[in-house]
Symmetry: C2
Subunit: 497 residues, 2 copies
Amino acid sequence: MLEKLNLDQELDKKTFHDAFSKLQFDIGVLQRKVVDLGIPVIIIFEGWEAAGKGTAIGSLVRRIDPRGFKVHHTKAPTEEEALRPFLWRFWRDLPGRGEIGIFDRSWYGKVLVERVDKLAPKKEWRRAYAEINEFERLLADDGALLIKFWLHISKKEQKSRFKHFLKDPFRGWKITKTDWKHHKEYDKFYEAAEDMFAKTDAPHAPWTAVESHDKRVSTLKIMRAVVAAIQNAVKRKEKAAAKAQAAAPAPTAESTPPASKPTLLSRIDLNKTLTKEEYAARLDDLQDRIVDYEYRLYEKRLPVVIVYEGWDAGGKGGNIKRITEKLDPRGYDVTPIAAPQGAERTHHYLWRFWNHLPKAGHIAIFDRSWYGRVMVERIEGFCREDEWKRAFDEIVEFERQLANFGTIVIKFWIHISQEEQLRRFKERESIEFKRWKLTDEDWRNREKWPQYDRAVSELIEKTSMPFAPWTVVEGNCKYWARIKALETVCNAIKSKL
Amino acid sequence: MLEKLNLDQELDKKTFHDAFSKLQFDIGVLQRKVVDLGIPVIIIFEGWEAAGKGTAIGSLVRRIDPRGFKVHHTKAPTEEEALRPFLWRFWRDLPGRGEIGIFDRSWYGKVLVERVDKLAPKKEWRRAYAEINEFERLLADDGALLIKFWLHISKKEQKSRFKHFLKDPFRGWKITKTDWKHHKEYDKFYEAAEDMFAKTDAPHAPWTAVESHDKRVSTLKIMRAVVAAIQNAVKRKEKAAAKAQAAAPAPTAESTPPASKPTLLSRIDLNKTLTKEEYAARLDDLQDRIVDYEYRLYEKRLPVVIVYEGWDAGGKGGNIKRITEKLDPRGYDVTPIAAPQGAERTHHYLWRFWNHLPKAGHIAIFDRSWYGRVMVERIEGFCREDEWKRAFDEIVEFERQLANFGTIVIKFWIHISQEEQLRRFKERESIEFKRWKLTDEDWRNREKWPQYDRAVSELIEKTSMPFAPWTVVEGNCKYWARIKALETVCNAIKSKL
């Protein structure tokens, strides 16, 4: 891609200013549209050191309302960041709907500097291509606009700029030893960049290479590309909105009757039980084992993610308590998931879960999870059909990314029968200190048992993977359920240690 | 405090278990009350290395619903953390209403290890006492329950535990060189701890020293103290709630007529103007100056906080834009403040602003701010009278803490006349691309002009401090306002460089 660029282009001051002022006006108006239409805009600046990324970003944002964008300066990962999958910190910085996020260097560091300087093993940066592509596709599917720039200068030009900077008392400190080292490796970076373009250029996230010898040429090309990209995105979104209003119905609760053939859940044998004595005898042993594992996970810096899903009154809370009871509380976290709030609502539905990923060496337990997308959000019509259908793949990719990082992923569906649920609801009604546990929503959900039955059976079939298997826990007998969950966790951890 | 402890106490197994099981039951019930009543509970564990903090926390939480608490393990500050005031990271980890936050070591590190090991200069750790006391008082005033433990063992006991640990293959790694160094400095730490108790023991945040030679004695004392403290807090809260229901009216919008004497704002001369030519001539120069300062702030690692408040349609947005226009966007952040959402609502009102503090060397611009507490929240009755009255002091303390850290704090009130506001509202109505800027709320706020006039005048008088002065900007002429704000920012920065 780069060899085709003509780096000798120049532009006179007047031509530049006339064109640029018009574009600045356009972008001010467009930013407002971005807010109104709720489009998340992600603009990435990659390129050679001293190619002028800072200046380019400065010109780009000059006339944008400063409340509407954020610039993220990507440096080497901090300790906090290094203990999570490499996309974690970029997820945290993603713009919400209607916001513009500008990345001065980005997730592409993994396949550029980390590759060339051998900071990441080959296996890791090669796999990063897949994860980056999944990441960008998922964002684009969610309505995000992705704009990616490579600011290009020749090796000779870079050398002359470095030398020029060194003479400037205010900017001299910016050129480091590493920069000189990278300058010498120009050809290797060139090759890596070309490989990167080939592997990550996509219609929904195209690369634009920018001739950056002349500042005016470069600034104008960037501005034009941004304006055009936003204009297109705005048009697409307005068209889609008009079409949706005209024809398609708004998302609604699922009304289709449940399939007639028996579902996966309906085939579960719920007659498994343990006596109190059997339970007590095994509980202690398993809890001691998991305490032991907690230390060893920490030593080996292995993260663990445990997902709890299940029927209301299935016994999730008591089950989780038995997992954590003897653990060192500094080593685990329990995150209860309720309806999304605030920033959670203006971001991709996976965003808040990325925010709660465990540090390497820690255990994160989710009491309900990202599977809400294909359960309650599907059934209640909180998202569109194409959205929840797409979610199966997105979730598998998400969990594969966790597993790639070394995470042990364990997922439970705590299963009880309809009769048992009714019995427990009634018990809760009658016992004063349990009454808070039962809400009107629980009764409403109960009425939708067949829909949940089908949705859960489907998600288990579609998202059970060797690297993140589901375990259906027979929950009519709480003793059985607790022992089974503990045993599953112990075995999953053991097999990775 | 420590010399009075009898470290030779012991407890037999049965006595311990009987008492402890009962307390575990109690704490389960109390945790529910904490949720219902929305009490934030903060429990701090300080004490000697190897005194058993981990074990104590483990026993404490064993029967608490794991979704209801979080344990925070405090280590040396990361780079991210070191670039902010020392309380920043603890603010981020504060529990919300109804949550329990347990700190394994805490903000007291500043006056213990940082003092003894001379990691903080004397001036800094001495000042930390005041900041810690302000912090804890502010949390207590907001309804938080604070429980602080010091786990005490003798020097001899510590040595024997270290030696014992070293023999254990799983725990040997826990004893580091630093631990041995600190062991040798036992007497210095002892003295620092006594000083800390003397300076930070308060009725709303008392210290409990715990004899920790015998695990049962220690565990039981901690459990008893926590149960008693929560019981008291629950009683107080229930009583207050009952009283509030019986007598005091719920918070309401301020109805008191404005004072008859002229307010501070009403004495502002709004006739100041600049011509377009004067404006253009000075704008360039000031913007160049601020770009230059941005580099120097970064070099010297000085943080800047700029607060924008002002009448609707006062021109805050355009003013901010002129400040940032030429700045390197990697060096500043603009944070627009709207009504609190999600976690912002379940925390102290200052919490979200702590979250957005600039890194040292960066500029943070707030478009509206914590002053909402003593403006809109006061006027609309979103908080009680005692709450907003207390806020003046809390805000002064907050800004003093920023200034102590080296932050340059600049605060603007953009002032326009009622007539000018009306003119601008009408203009916005008539120009299509400006219409989005005008909402029904703007018209409603306009009706409360006298209340705002009085509230703003009062807050400016009460919170203008040498370390965080207010500047009232005459805003009828936008040119004048922009130049004045830019000049104020430049001069404030210059005087600190």
